[in-house]
Every structure is written in C-alpha cells, then in structure tokens.
Amino acid sequence: MNRFLTLVGRDLRLALRQGSDATIAVMFFVLCVVLFPFGVGPEPNILARIAAGVIWVAALLASLLSLERLFLTDYEDGSLELLALSALPMEAVVLAKTLAHWLVTGVPLIVAAPLLAVLLNMEPGGFGVLVLTLAVGTPILSLIGAIGAALTLGARRGGVLLSLLILPLYIPVLIFGAGAIDAALTGLTPRPHLLLLGGLLAGALPLAPWAGAAALRQAME
C-alpha cells in the first residue's frame, strides 16, 4: 500500500511540475462546451435541452486528451521496465497511474462542470446529479482509457489509434451519465442510471488494471 501511494505521489508531483496535462484538459473541456452556443445558437431552451449531453461529450473528449501519455513517458525513459521489476504488481502500477491520471484530469472536470452548466442554462435541479454522474463516470473513463493507453503503447500514431479504440467503449458511460441528468431534469429518479454507472465502475475497477497490466507486459517484450 505504501508503494502504491509512493507511485501515485510521484505521478501527481510530475503532473503538477509539468503542469500542462491538468490545465490543458480542463481548458479543452471549457472551450469545447463554450463552442456550442456559437454553433447551435443562443436560444436558452435549446441549450438547456442539450446541456447534459454536451457537457458529458466534452468531458469524454477532454479525458481522452492526455491518456496517450499515461504510460508513454514511463515507457520511453525506461521507468516502466523498472516499475515492472519492483515489488509492486503490474496491476497495482496500472491502478496507481490511473488514479493519478484521474486526480489530475478528472477532478478538475467535475469542479468545472457546474459552471458550464450555468453557461448552458441548465436547470439548477440537475447540478447535483451532474456532479454525481461525473464523479462516478470519470473514473470509469480513466480506467477504460488505461487499457487503451497500454494497448497502443509503442504503436506509431498511438494517440489516434487510442481514440478509435476507446471512444466506442465510452458509449455506455455517456448514455447513463447523460441519461441520469435528463431523468432528474424531467422529474424522474436518476437512481437506475446512477446504479448502472456504479455497476460499470465496479466492473472496470478490477478488470481494467488486469487488462492494462497484461497489455503492458506485452508492450515490454
């Protein structure tokens, strides 16, 4: 456990010192959402109707941005091999790096989302559910993304390949995430959607590190 936290701490320190990943993801998220009123037109009704979907799609794309570098820098400078030789199991390495990635890119999205919801004229009643779905959903995005990042490691133009590989897998998260907010806004209970999201998280939490570790071992051969 100590080693796990050491690795999370190192990745957070690296991310904070390099500073780019976290700010880029959240800036992209904001800009992406801000573009919609320009494209769709500023009618408040239409914006309020599409707000949940727009925010979720933008969050999805933003979390995809820095995924490519999740394992790439460690792979290129040889750290990944040394991590594989450490007492920490490879699955824990994947989980630690994914957790650090989520803390750096996912959490700022959750914080920024209510502000963007105001911008898109979303009913205040949906804010709570919006934050809740993002809090459950963005870890799933990071976990699924970690599998893709591990699989595309060492591939040429891995970033493009990664998006093609991962975006279809994000669809269930998007459906239940946006669905929960829509349900709350139309006066229904968002509970089933949230439970399904929780189920996805419960499935991804053990499976993604396992699959990612297998892919990393393959990449290091």
């Binding site: 690296l14 400078d77 040889g78 091999e81 030789l85 450490s86 007492a87 199991p89 290091m220």
Partner: protein
C-alpha cells in the same frame, strides 16, 4: 484369499509410493539444522530467443553462483541485451528454462522480479524531478525505510553528491548513468543485470563501478554484465554470445564470419 494377498499388495504400494518421489518431497527435520541453506544459483539451460521471426541465439546455457559474475561478450546484435531481458523476465524465452536455485523462474515471475536490479540503455530519469527525488522514489519503491537518506548515500557512493538538488533535465549523460547506477545501491537485490553500464561513464566512474560490483559480489551477490569497454571483473566467467547465434553455428570459422560493423 484376501488375507494371503495382503502382504504382496502392501509391498507393491510401498514400492509405487517410494518411486513416485513422495519421499523426496517430505520434510526432513533432522537435516535442516545440520546442512546450511543452499546458496542460490541462477542458471539457464538451452535458452533460445526469438525476436519477431529472427533467431537471436539458441542452445545457450549459463550458470551464475553467489559471488559470481558473468560477462556477456559479442558484437552488436548478437543478443546480449536480449539475454539480459530474458534474465530479467521481460522476455519469455522461446525455448529453454531459467532457474533460480533449481526453481523455475517461469513458475514464480513476481518473486523473480524482486530479486533483480536491471540497468538498461535508458536511465529512467524524470526531467522535472531532482536527482535525489528520482533516486528516493526508487528506493522507497524498493522498500527503504528512509528513502531520501538512502538516495543521498548512494549518490555519495557514486561520487556525485553535488547533483542531489539538480533537476534531471540538467544532468549530463554520464551523470544520468551514475544516477541510474546509484539506484541499484539504494535498494538491495541479489542479482544485478547490467546492460552496458559503462556507456557514457568516465574512467573514474568505471573504477567506482568496479569497486561497487566487487563489494556486491563479496556479499554473495551476482552480476551479469554486458560490455564493449574494458571493465575489471576478477574471476568473471565469459559468455561469448556469437557462439550461440545461428549465423556462426552454420559457419565453419566462427568469429571471422560476422560482419565487422560493430565499431559503430
């Protein structure tokens, strides 16, 4: 009837039981205190390595005893790095087995990884972390109680205490290499796999490295090292990788058949 057959079947069962090797696996408490625990031996038999569809080496045997050193020699592309990666467990041998103390490495890969320190071509230095922070991270991952103290003393040992506060991006190639070598001192492991550790090192650093390796071996550690440069490893066994490449196996005159482009 049954009574008269009883002794016969008893002996048959006893014989079967004995030959099945069960007895060999039974604990023998009376011997446990007399014989000291056997020193671990790291050995490979009949190793064959395939990279893509290219055969790198085949039929390779090696054996490293505690305190022993194995020097891998051979021209570029003869499979020195591949062999070290096989030993570290990154690459699975296509054929053949690796054994630590007669226990197959393939059966407990996680246990094997913990025994190994690997120094490859890449120095694993993070540009935004200082040298001491880089080192302390690996020390703490290796289980050191006070990683920063371990890191500083390892840097001291490598003769570069002054780079402790310097960010990785400002380090020279030689300093990065020293930092990488300091990493193997920061947390103990019995088997050191060093892939051309002398690259980018100056004479003084090579001498330091020789001393560190000698100390490690004196403590019962093992070293497998590949190199093109001169490095003094007293009593080291030499393994010429080109003896095991298919090219030289097919040719009559072994060494001369290889192209002479390894100066690059």
């Amino acid at each position: 009837m049954a009574v008269s057959f009883y002794p016969l079947s008893y002996w048959r069962h006893a014989a079967l039981w004995y030959s099945s090797g069960v007895i060999d696996r039974l604990p023998r408490p009376q011997q446990r205190h007399e014989v000291p625990p056997p020193m671990p031996v790291f050995a490979g038999t009949d190793l064959t390595c395939l990279r893509g569809d290219r055969l790198v080496f085949t039929g390779l045997d090696f054996r490293v005893a505690p305190g022993g050193a194995l020097l891998l020699l051979g021209p570029n592309g003869s499979g020195k790095s591949s062999l070290l990666r096989v030993m570290a467990g990154f690459l699975r041998p296509w054929r053949g087995t690796l054994a630590w103390d007669d226990l197959s490495v393939a059966e407990e890969p996680d246990g094997h990884r913990r025994r190994v320190h690997y120094v490859g071509h890449l120095d694993a230095v993070k540009p935004v972390m200082t040298a001491a922070e880089n080192l302390a991270f690996w020390a703490s991952l290796g289980g050191a109680a006070d990683p920063m103290a371990h890191a500083l003393s390892a840097l001291e040992r490598l003769g570069v205490p002054h780079i402790a506060g310097v960010p990785g991006r400002y380090l020279s190639a030689g300093q990065k290499r020293r930092l990488n070598l300091a990493r193997i001192l920061a947390a103990p492991a019995p088997l050191w796999l060093l892939d051309e550790p002398t690259v980018a090192l100056d004479r003084a650093a090579v001498a330091l490295l020789e001393g560190i390796i000698a100390e490690h071996r004196a403590g019962g550690g093992m070293v497998v090292l590949s190199t093109h440069a001169d490095i003094a490893l007293p009593g080291a066994e030499e393994l010429h990788l080109d003896d095991f490449t298919p090219l030289s196996a097919d040719d009559e005159d072994d060494e001369d058949a290889l192209p002479e482009e390894d100066a690059a």
